[in-house]
Structure formats: structure tokens, C-alpha cells
Symmetry: C2
Subunit: 301 residues, 2 copies
């Protein structure tokens, strides 16, 4: 009989939980809103989800992906912009005490990368990047056959690498970060700059228009894809990786974005390095993060 | 009695060789022009340098850094733009046969990174980047306590990451690569764009003018430093490294360039990640590459 693990993704609005077997197959999922302002409520919400699964099976470990800057040495969540109750908190320790089971925390994009690497589109790759495009742009790196975290666990902030020095202002305080272009927010800004947006325009509504043949909407996704392609070329030339796996809510737009990204990366990257690297869609989306968190729990238990 | 190693750097115009002890201390250096067009002449030139050192001491290994794209799996030098006789050649095997001693080849910037990491400004760092600014811009990465080569050995092409999508055309075929701004060539182009260059202007003459108080020349180095700072911020946010070590001929301009780079990186990078990373000058320049090649020979012998 195999072991079971729980993977949890704590986002700004919702908590998602998946019960998996020991190969990352999802057996069941649960959802609940995020009590973003109150730490006790947040811990109680996670505990309820875990308890529900524990009524059915014995759980060997719980992995938790969280949007924010997690210090891999101190285990403190340094800043979690959309979940303020987690700022400066050792949520791993608190959950471990609440749940009496093995708990491991990770940045949500790194959890997604771990999922695609162990059970998805990046399986078996020695060097890969996972990019998740939603409201913002997250990234996790696997280098040399290991999750790459850097000195303090902050590595992977591809969304805050500069692609235009005098580009759009970014929430991080810099200008021209990739995220200001390649994200749901960036896509709407691009539409606005092209006078193709009204107050109700969203990345989703633009995608719907694009699939219905709207040329302006299509060109917005192509332009966004070109910026994604520049970031891919940069990853390819800097890291000579084998795969770039792209997921996230915006990837509903699939090949519209990825086609343009692949073409731009091809134009920009060294041919030898470009040949080494496949730019592919996520296999596990929307479960990359929960599956990855469960697999992290498996591999650290 | 310690062991001795030879580190060799084959550039487009000259071959430099250093005899080192087993801690990377340089005991003696030699130079000879590069026979860039004839492979037999090139091998003979390297053999003569090695033989001269061998008259004095027993040599335990020879490391060779070469400008070009070295395939780390096949050991073939795929392209070496300035040393055409090395294109598609397994120079490691040919030198091993000619010299009857342990020979290891490496891309020249990676050899420099290895030097700074084992015996210079990056000693003891788990994650670091070495950037060498000369005619072009080279880079080598140490990640997770190992030289990082990527899938085929091509990693480290920071000079060909894009910092301006519609920037200057680059020899690699892309536009807006870092190297088009941060290199001797790029500095002269910047001067030209500012109408501050004549036919005899070089990065060196501009640096001399800058040190004599020429405001225009100073602003050219500050502008170049800002682009270097953008690249540093990108490395810091993407890789959360501990150190960026900067060397190369252009670094004669020292703090003029690095001061601007540090300020720009500070403005751009996440504060937590920026705190983790020191941006420092090379300790071994101009011997980073030869010392690194010798240390590679030591560590692979």
C-alpha cells in the first residue's frame, strides 16, 4: 500500500488542497477562502482541510506553497504581499505544531516547479525553469538536478528581471520588470496602451476576443509572448537549461502566447543553446503547485 | 613539496601561460602570439610554453581556457569566433596527445570564474557570478558550490541576455544584448552616440579622459555602469547569489563603473536579495583566467 501526501497552495484569495498518492497523482481536492488577515484563522482553515483528508487516509506529510518571500535558512516568511498575516511568521513551525504531522513550506512558484519537475512536463530534466503567469509572474528553477533556491531561498524572481530599462513602473519599485508585461495585469496595461480596453477588460476577456478572431486582441497576446520569449532567451543563454515549462492562469491562452514566445526566443538565443531547450506548456496546471507541495512533503518526510 | 600546474588562456591575439603552485599562486608567466588560423601551429605554440615550464619543474596538469562555445559533453569547441582554427576541434584531446600530461579545457570566462572562486574574490562562496568586461562581456557562474555549465556547457552567456528589446544590433544576431552596452566596443558606441568620439577613441582613452575630470567621459562610464547594474540586479533577483565579481580589461576603470553598477543594482533588486550579494572587483585580474585554468587542472587531475 502506497503513502499519501497533502499539497496545499495558499494564495491571496483561496487555499487549495490536494490529496495525492506517492507518485503525485491527485486523489481528491478541496478549496476554502484564505483568511488573509488573521493567522489563527488561517491555521484553522488549513487544519480543517488536512483533517478532512485524514478522516479517509493516513497522511505521511503536508507540503505548503505560499506566495511570498520565504527565507530558506530561517524558515521565516519574510513578506507575503497578499497574505499580510504571514509576514515575518514561521508558518512551517506553527503548522507543524497544529497538525502533528511532517510539514514543509515553500514559495508557491518553487512548489509549482517542483511539481512539474517530479510529476509533470519537466520530469527527468537536469536543468529547467517553471514560469507561472497569473496576476503576476512567478518562477522556480531546477539546476543540476536540484531545486535551486540561492543564498537565502529568494532565487527565481524572473518576474522582476528587467527587460526594458525605462519600462513600466513595477510594484517592486523598479521599472521595466518582465512582470509588468507578462502577467494578467501587464496584458490589460498593454491593451490600454493600444486603446483596446475599457473598465471591464480583463486578460480573460481579451483572450476570448482573440480566439474569436479579434486582431487587436491577438496582437496583444503576440506582443506579450514576445516579451516572454525575451525572458526565455535570457534563461537559455544564461543557464543553458533543457526545458522551460509555462503554466498559470494566463496560459489558458496557450499557443497564442507560447507560439510568439518560442519564435522570439529562437530569434534571440544562441542556436546551440536554443536547440537544447524545449519551451512547453505545463502538464499539471492548475494543480502544479499543490502536487509539487505534496511531492516536497514526500521527499523531505 | 607541493604540486605545480600550468594555466593557459588562448585569446584571439595572444596566448598567456602561468605556472602556479597548488594554491593558485603564480610562480611565473609567459606570453606568445596566437596562431589563430593554423591548428598545428597553435598546438606547437602551447607545447613550447608548457615545455619551458617543464624544464624547471614537474607539471601535474595543464588547464586551458579558450574564448568560444565549448561543448562540455562532447568536449568539442563548437565555435571560437576569434580563433577559427579551433572551430569543431577536440583541442583537449589533441593537446593531451601532444603534451603527454593531464589537460582540461574550459571556456575562458568559466576559467576566470573558477579562478576567482577557488583563489580570488569569490573564495568560499556557494553561489557567485564572475563577469569579465573586455572587447566583449563574458561570464561564469558558480551555483550550489559547483561550476555551473548547464546542459551542454554553454551556460553563462550573460553578455547575450537582452537588456533593451529594441537596442543596438549584436554580433550574435539579436538586439539589445548586454554586451552591446557593457564592453569596450559598447563604450565606444555610447561615446559615438553622444558625439564624444573620433576615429582614435577607445575605451581606454575615454577612461583616461574620465579620470582627468572630463564630464562627458565620466557620464559614458556611469551610463555603462547603469547597464551593468541592471544585469547585476537581474542576476541577484533570478539567482539570489552571494557575490558578483567583476574583472576584465575595462575594469581598469574600477569604481567609476562599479559605483554606478552598485547603485543601479540597489535601486532595481529586491532589498533582501541585494543584501545577500556583494558586487566586488576581481582580485586576480589579469590572471583570473590562467589561475582558474590551473586550478581546474588541479581539481580534475
Amino acid at each position: 500500500m502506497g503513502m499519501n501526501y497533502i499539497g496545499i497552495d495558499i494564495g491571496g484569495t483561496g487555499i487549495k488542497a490536494a490529496l495525492t498518492d506517492d507518485s503525485g497523482i491527485v486523489l481528491e481536492t478541496l478549496k476554502t477562502p484564505t483568511p488573509a488577515e488573521n493567522l489563527n484563522d488561517l491555521i484553522a482553515a488549513v487544519s480543517r482541510l488536512v483533517a478532512k483528508f485524514q478522516q479517509e487516509v493516513t497522511v505521511s506529510g503536508v507540503g505548503v506553497g505560499i506566495a511570498g518571500l520565504l527565507n530558506a535558512r530561517t524558515r521565516i516568511m519574510e513578506t507575503s504581499p497578499n497574505i499580510p498575516c504571514l509576514n515575518e511568521v514561521d508558518i512551517e513551525k506553527q503548522l507543524r505544531e497544529a497538525l502533528s504531522v511532517h510539514v514543509i513550506t515553500e514559495n508557491d512558484a518553487k512548489a509549482g516547479a517542483y511539481g512539474e519537475w517530479t510529476a509533470g512536463a519537466g520530469r527527468g530534466r537536469r536543468h529547467m525553469a517553471y514560469i507561472t503567469i497569473g496576476t503576476g509572474l512567478g518562477c522556480g528553477l531546477v539546476l543540476g538536478g536540484h531545486m535551486f533556491r540561492g543564498t537565502s531561498g529568494y532565487a527565481g524572481e524572473l518576474g522582476h528581471t528587467v527587460v526594458e530599462p525605462r519600462g513600466r513602473p513595477c510594484a517592486c519599485g523598479s521599472h521595466g520588470c518582465l512582470e509588468t508585461r507578462v502577467s494578467a495585469t501587464g496584458i490589460v496595461l498593454t491593451a490600454r496602451e493600444m486603446n483596446a480596453a475599457n473598465d471591464n477588460t480583463t486578460a480573460e476577456s481579451l483572450y476570448e476576443a482573440a480566439t474569436k478572431g479579434d486582431r487587436t486582441a491577438q496582437s496583444i497576446f503576440e506582443e506579450t509572448g514576445r516579451y516572454l520569449g525575451i525572458a526565455c532567451a535570457n534563461l537559455i543563454n544564461l543557464l543553458n537549461i533543457e526545458a522551460i515549462v509555462v503554466g498559470g492562469g494566463v496560459m489558458a491562452s496557450g499557443d497564442l502566447l507560447l507560439g510568439a514566445a518560442r519564435a522570439e526566443a529562437q530569434r534571440r538565443a544562441f542556436p546551440s543553446s536554443a536547440r537544447d531547450c524545449a519551451i512547453v506548456q505545463s502538464q499539471l496546471w492548475p494543480d502544479s503547485g499543490t502536487i509539487g507541495a505534496a511531492m516536497l512533503a514526500r521527499d523531505t518526510a
